[in-house]
């Protein structure tokens, strides 16, 4: 359902902006790198079988991003880069999804497939996980920036000062002995 906002949005392309670039200058306007389904399947299989890609995919699945969204983003990005056409992309989408689910299953991740109820993801508490991951990342970088050796030196200096103060303290009470 289309939601009509009452507030005007200025963050949009102006009418005719799509025609300002020369025809054929965009990657998706030129012939694609791979034309057949087999080539595109090989392309995705090769890319998604690398260790880095598996780790990245597992991280994203762990964050609670649905498989449908990841797969669609991947194929759309490659359409934009001129790797394949959008129709071949739609054909190979189930394979990308199945591959992502295979990564999720082999990594023992409880991922969101996004197939059951698309609204379920927002209804669940999954955003908290991503928020926690972000906060923990920020905290980790903050700890990395801090120099612990300096902190330890400061602590030692503070302790010395306190000890010195304790030793030089003179009794100030009325009943105190005078030297």
């Amino acid at each position: 359902m289309v939601q009509i906002s009452k507030e005007p949005s200025f963050d949009r392309p102006i009418p005719g902006q799509a025609l300002t670039a020369e025809l054929g200058s965009r990657p998706w306007q030129s012939p694609p790198q791979y034309t057949t389904v087999d080539e595109v399947i090989d392309f995705y299989m090769e890319r998604m079988s690398s260790e880095d890609a598996i780790i990245q995919a597992a991280d994203i699945l762990e964050m609670g991003v649905p498989v449908t969204t990841i797969a669609n983003t991947m194929q759309m990005a490659n359409v934009m880069e001129g790797v394949h056409t959008i129709d071949v992309g739609m054909l190979v989408l189930p394979i990308i999804m199945e591959m992502l689910m295979l990564i999720g299953d082999s990594s023992k991740i409880e991922y969101q497939s996004g197939l059951d109820n698309p609204n379920k993801v927002s209804a669940e508490n999954k955003t908290r996980d991503t928020l926690l991951a972000k906060i923990s990342g920020q905290y980790k970088s903050m700890l990395d920036e801090k120099d612990f050796e300096d902190m330890q030196d400061e602590d030692i200096e503070d302790e010395d000062i306190e000890e010195a103060e304790e030793t030089t303290e003179e009794p100030a009470g009325l009943m105190a002995r005078r030297n």
Partner: protein, 72 residues
């Protein structure tokens, strides 16, 4: 996010690998007058891109089932 993925969900769910035609062993014929088939020796129309996708998809699904312990 929801409306964008409708096409993705449809593409995934429409790939009905359970009801795909099964592979059959090709008929043995050594005669010179044997008809040449166009990639349909196994009973599958491999000229159809969807069939090719379904074949690959089936392999991945079998692997997943093995991992999950739900293979038959």
């Amino acid at each position: 996010m929801t409306s964008e993925n409708n096409a993705v969900i449809a593409a995934y769910k429409n790939l009905d690998i359970e009801n795909m035609p099964k592979e059959t062993s090709p008929e043995k014929s050594t005669g010179l007058l044997r008809r040449k088939s166009k990639g349909t020796d196994s009973g599958l129309d491999m000229t159809n891109p969807v069939v090719r996708v379904a074949k690959q998809f089936e392999l991945l699904r079998n692997n997943r089932n093995k991992i999950n312990g739900t293979d038959i």
